[in-house]
């Protein structure tokens, strides 16, 4: 249309200009509309989304871990409480890899961390699953905590928090009662997706009551909202929702008694259980030695864990519930009840000549020369084996087993602990089912002195003592929840029970085997029964040359020492059981009768008990904390002699979590069961303790 030759004059040019200017103007108007539409789109249609984004820019939300409910004793004294704690963690997700070294260097400088801690943090950072906080330091003082706060802009991924950490004032004395707390594992977080589980400083119960009562103790988290600038600088705190602390849990435990019993067990590997026979309340629940739940809750180093698992006193095992022992002679009062129930007259006498031949085997009494003729009470007082061999041989053990069960042996109790092994009360039906074999007279004889197939844990022994003392079918309980239900009377003749109690009185006060347990409190007396359980077979050859004394045997070969008691005999109030692994009755002030006497004394005359403990404790190397510190130091020096400096880095590579500890408990348990198995005089260990 346009010819190149066309002549353009001014009028045409003016017209073309106006036309093009209007086109341009219209285009500009269209752009104006487009801009206004875009504004409307952003500010109206997408307003909510952008408001949310602006808000999440502005507000930094952090969860406040709830304060854990206290665990208190029957009188309200704290068994587990919380102390204020300044701590520093690293959230791996928020720490850029290339800055890791620089951040760790600054942390080391600010917190004066030892090199092995830095190595542990580095290992943990490598292993951590991004979102999981890695602990840098706990229990910081204010100065160092403030230093971190000030330098925070240079420390990406570092989260300083002021929180609470769990504290167990009695330390190891309550370890196996309360368990301990620790950071939730990655698996637990993945299962629940609960953001609380990855909040720095939050701990959940890992064992014992802390684990069992988790729901009640936990509480609900609070939230802290702060306004921050793009550079992470805190502008102001916004409304903070306070955490709701968990509920306190009152236990039936007497904290003072618990700690006293733990100390009184001394250097033994043992356990003590005390029951209030009016209610079934557990007053003490002690397994020693034990780990320190305070340091476990902070995260345990490999060295510490290895030391505990190497210890032949198995501090990682809860012996009260998981230790199974042949109860030995402590079953004799129960046997007595079974005999009386089966019609044996208390005055029927058996003459003990030191040994009894049954078939082609010879069963020995612990007194080689024999006790002479004995009635039931005398047999219990002297703990004569021949009397019970003969009586049970006549009756058969199937007459005894029901009474054993009635008194609590072989029973599982409704206690809030995750693992409870409950041993064996054997009889012919049990053996037939378990081993497809007939019950033999030898089985009866072994069972009659609490050996052979019979296995019990310390809490069952304590329940047995409490049921004999009260005549009621007491159920042990550890969590205080209203008044204990009145327990039903046992289906046993009260006169028989009174007779047995009198026999147990005789054990202590009338020249029996437990004379050392006699109370020094006027007008109050103790009834008891001692026990010894062999953990090895005594050969004919050895017997001929004289049975070796326990003191000359290696620790693992020594006899277990057991003890059940109740007091006052006149009007029973307390019952207790004490089991010392491989105690062997070697040191008098560390033997069961003395421990039993002092524990009961504590309940009746605290000052006297504390005074007598103060006299002997220094001879054992000081109190629990002192001894543990000394052991740790000795272990460390021994390790470093053997392995040199390498150990420290190995130790820091350790998992700081519970599964390893649980595995250690299992290992200790199975070895205890294996030892228990070797204790059978009759046949070698194919038998297994039943457990849950």
């Amino acid at each position: 249309m346009n010819r190149p030759t066309r002549l353009v004059n001014e009028v045409q040019q003016s017209y073309s200009f106006s036309r093009r200017a209007l086109v341009l103007g219209a285009a500009q108007g269209a752009v104006a509309v487009a801009l206004a539409s875009r504004m409307t789109w952003l500010a109206v249609i997408e307003n909510q989304r952008y408001q949310l984004l602006a808000e999440s820019n502005r507000v930094n939300l952090t969860m406040i871990p709830p304060r854990r409910g206290w665990i208190i004793d029957r009188y309200g004294h704290p068994i587990a409480n919380n102390r204020t704690d300044f701590r520093v963690d690293i959230i791996p997700d928020r720490l850029p890899k290339e800055q890791t070294d620089q951040v760790l260097k600054l942390l080391q400088q600010l917190l004066s961390l030892p090199p092995e801690q830095i190595a542990r943090i580095q290992t943990d950072l490598k292993r951590a699953a991004g979102f999981q906080p890695v602990q840098v330091a706990e229990n910081l003082d204010w100065d160092r905590f403030a230093a971190i706060q000030v330098r925070l802009p240079e420390l990406p991924g570092v989260a300083p928090t002021r929180g609470y950490s769990r504290s167990y004032p009695a330390g190891p004395a309550v370890a196996h009662l309360t368990g301990y707390v620790g950071a939730a594992s990655a698996e637990q977080y993945k299962q629940t997706k609960n953001p609380l589980f990855i909040t720095p400083g939050f701990k959940i119960g890992k064992d014992g009551l802390e684990k069992a009562l988790e729901e009640k103790l936990r509480g609900s988290p609070g939230a802290k909202r702060v306004e921050v600038t793009a550079h992470g600088k805190l502008v102001r705190e916004l409304a903070t929702r306070q955490d709701v602390p968990g509920h306190n849990q009152r236990l039936t435990i007497d904290a003072g008694l618990q700690e006293y019993a733990a100390r009184r067990l001394g250097t033994n590997s043992g356990s003590a259980v005390v029951i209030d026979v009016t209610s079934g309340d557990l007053l003490a629940f002690v397994s020693m030695p034990a780990y320190d739940p305070n340091s476990f809750s902070d995260g345990i180093s490999h060295l510490e864990w290895k030391m505990l698992s190497d210890n032949d006193h198995v501090p990682l095992m809860n012996k009260v519930l998981q230790g199974l022992y042949p109860p030995g002679s402590t079953v004799k009062p129960m046997n007595g009840l079974a005999l009386l129930r089966a019609g044996v007259s208390p005055d029927d006498r058996i003459s003990c000549g030191g040994a009894l031949r049954v078939g082609n085997g010879i069963f020995h009494c612990h007194k080689r020369s024999g006790h002479g003729p004995l009635n039931l009470k005398q047999a219990i007082m002297a703990s004569c084996d021949i009397y019970f061999y003969e009586m049970v041989r006549r009756l058969g053990y199937d007459q005894v087993a029901p009474v054993a069960r009635t008194l609590g042996l072989g029973q599982k109790f409704d206690l809030p602990f995750s693992t409870q092994r409950y041993g064996t009360v054997p009889d012919s039906a049990w053996k037939l089912k378990k081993y497809k074999a007939e019950w033999t007279v030898a089985d009866s004889l072994n069972a009659s002195i609490g050996q052979g197939y019979v296995l019990a844990n310390p809490i069952q022994l304590a329940v047995m003592a409490s049921r004999i003392a009260s005549g009621r079918s007491l159920q042990p309980r550890v969590v205080m929840s209203g008044n204990a239900p009145i327990a039903n009377p046992l289906p046993l003749n009260p006169e028989h029970l009174a007779y047995i109690r009198d026999a147990m009185y005789g054990v202590v006060n009338q020249g029996g085997t437990g004379g050392r347990a006699r109370l020094n409190i006027p007008g109050v007396s103790l009834g008891a029964k001692t026990g010894t359980a062999q953990v090895r077979r005594i050969t004919m050859a050895e017997r001929a040359g004289g049975v070796r004394s326990n003191a000359s045997l290696p620790f693992k070969m020594r006899d277990h020492a057991l003890f059940i008691c109740f007091a006052p005999v006149e009007n029973p109030r307390y019952a207790a059981a004490i089991v010392l692994e491989h105690g062997g009755h070697t040191v008098t002030n560390l033997d069961t009768p003395g421990i039993g006497r002092d524990i009961i004394t504590y309940l009746l005359d605290r000052d006297r008990a504390l005074k007598s403990l103060a006299e002997v404790e220094p001879t054992w190397g000081g109190d629990i904390a002192t001894r543990m510190a000394a052991e740790t130091a000795a272990y460390k020096s021994q390790i470093s002699l053997v392995q040199g400096a390498q150990t420290e880095t190995n130790a820091t590579a350790a998992p700081t979590d519970a599964p390893a500890v649980e595995a250690a408990t299992d290992a200790a348990n199975s070895s205890a069961a294996a030892i228990a198995n070797t204790a059978q005089p009759a046949e070698e260990g194919s038998r297994e303790a039943t457990n849950d």
């Binding site: 346009n2 353009v8 045409q12 500010a43 793009a230």
Partner: protein, 375 residues
């Protein structure tokens, strides 16, 4: 000459009465509103921005009103010499930049720091308009009508690209090309040019643009791909605008700007700072104000008699339009981040100078029209 507009305001001196007061009030409104925005951007302080911006604004506005007394013929005669001086200054920046070692865009002229590339934005329009004024109408469809303006545009655009400043180079090119379009260069050349641009753009993208400029364009395509890097600017600015809603969060209540989430909240992204606090209402009013001014400038062009006046007025209208629309589009994520300030809102003396210079020239052309049309 007597004019209607001064008849009922007899007591006002004639030079003042001749001014287009509606436009001046509009400019004044935008400028004062800007002081509130900068006051808030500084966290409720007149320093460091509101005070100096305000002083400059009133001085420059006075200057613009003074410029309105300059005659069209004067603009026409000085346009090419001034263009030459600015070219020399651009060369000076380039040489000084080489000496100082990189990326300098301004000259220190004692009391003021001048960015010559900004001055080139109006003067490329004047220079091109001057060229077409001199060109006889019959020559418009010949090659001689095309290459001289292309050289006029090409030299400063290339110098500015060297700085490197993509936004300004684009605006200089757009201003000059708009004048060529309005001058009556055959339409097919623009269509052909558009096609050539479409072909050359990817080549320029790969070989001419700097890495950071390339990056900005890539990020513009997908801002969420780099939320902590270059895309951060766009994301945060959209959050600021979007979270403001219809009525905004209120004066001094913007969180994005006050807590430093919005980068460059007082300069290139001042619109976001403003809209976060004043909302859609503030944004739309600003768009209306600016497009009223631009529409006034287009009208000045349509009413002008002389060829230079027409082309200049329409070209300056387009320059203002590019300022406003490129900045707004960029801040709202509709265009890549190219570093064009929002006139009279973004903090900065050079753009203030340029914009008020444009308005001053437009007012002088407007005055000429009124004297000729007597309304």
């Amino acid at each position: 000459m007597t004019r209607g507009s001064s008849a009922n305001l007899g007591f006002v001196p004639e030079p003042l009465a001749q001014l287009p007061w509606k436009v001046i009030l509009l400019v004044l409104a935008i400028g004062c509103f800007d002081l509130l925005v900068l006051y808030s951007a500084a966290g409720g302080h007149i320093r460091p921005w509101a005070l100096s911006q305000g002083v400059r604004f009133f001085v420059l506005l006075g200057g613009a009103m003074a410029l309105s007394r300059v005659r069209e013929s004067t603009w026409s005669s000085i346009s090419l010499p001034v263009y030459g001086v600015i070219i020399l200054m651009l060369l000076g920046v380039e040489i000084l930049g080489k000496v100082a070692g990189g990326g300098q865009r301004w000259l220190e002229l004692g009391i003021i720091r001048l960015q010559p590339s900004e001055l080139m934005k109006p003067f490329i329009v004047l220079a091109c308009a001057r060229f077409y004024e001199m060109l006889p109408p019959a020559e418009i469809r010949k090659f001689g009508a095309i290459w001289p303006p292309l050289v006029l545009i090409g030299i400063p655009a290339a110098l500015v690209m060297l700085q490197p400043d993509l936004g300004t180079a684009l605006m200089i090119t757009a201003g000059g090309v708009t004048v060529m379009f309005l001058a009556g260069i055959p339409l097919r050349l623009f269509i052909g040019g558009g096609l050539a641009g479409a072909i050359l753009a990817p080549i320029a993208f790969n070989f001419v643009l700097h890495d950071y400029q390339r990056n900005r364009i890539l990020i513009f395509m997908d801002p969420e791909s780099d939320p902590l890097g270059t895309g951060y600017h766009i994301s945060q600015s959209k959050i600021a605008i979007g979270s403001g809603g219809i009525f905004g969060k209120g004066f001094l209540n913007g969180t994005q700007s006050h807590l430093d989430y919005l980068p460059e909240g007082h300069t290139d992204f001042a619109l976001a700072t403003m809209m976060e606090e004043w909302g859609l209402v503030g944004g739309v009013l600003l768009v209306i104000a600016w497009f009223t001014i631009i529409w006034w400038a287009v009208n000045v062009a349509l009413k002008s008699e002389g060829r230079f006046a027409r082309l200049t007025a329409a070209g300056l209208a387009t320059t203002l339009f590019f300022y406003v629309s490129i900045n707004m589009a960029m801040v709202m994520g509709m265009a890549p981040v190219v570093g064009v300030p929002l006139p009279l809102i973004s903090f900065g003396g050079s753009s203030q100078l340029t914009v008020l210079l444009c308005i001053g020239i437009l007012m002088s052309l407007d005055r000429q029209n009124r004297q000729q049309t007597r309304w």
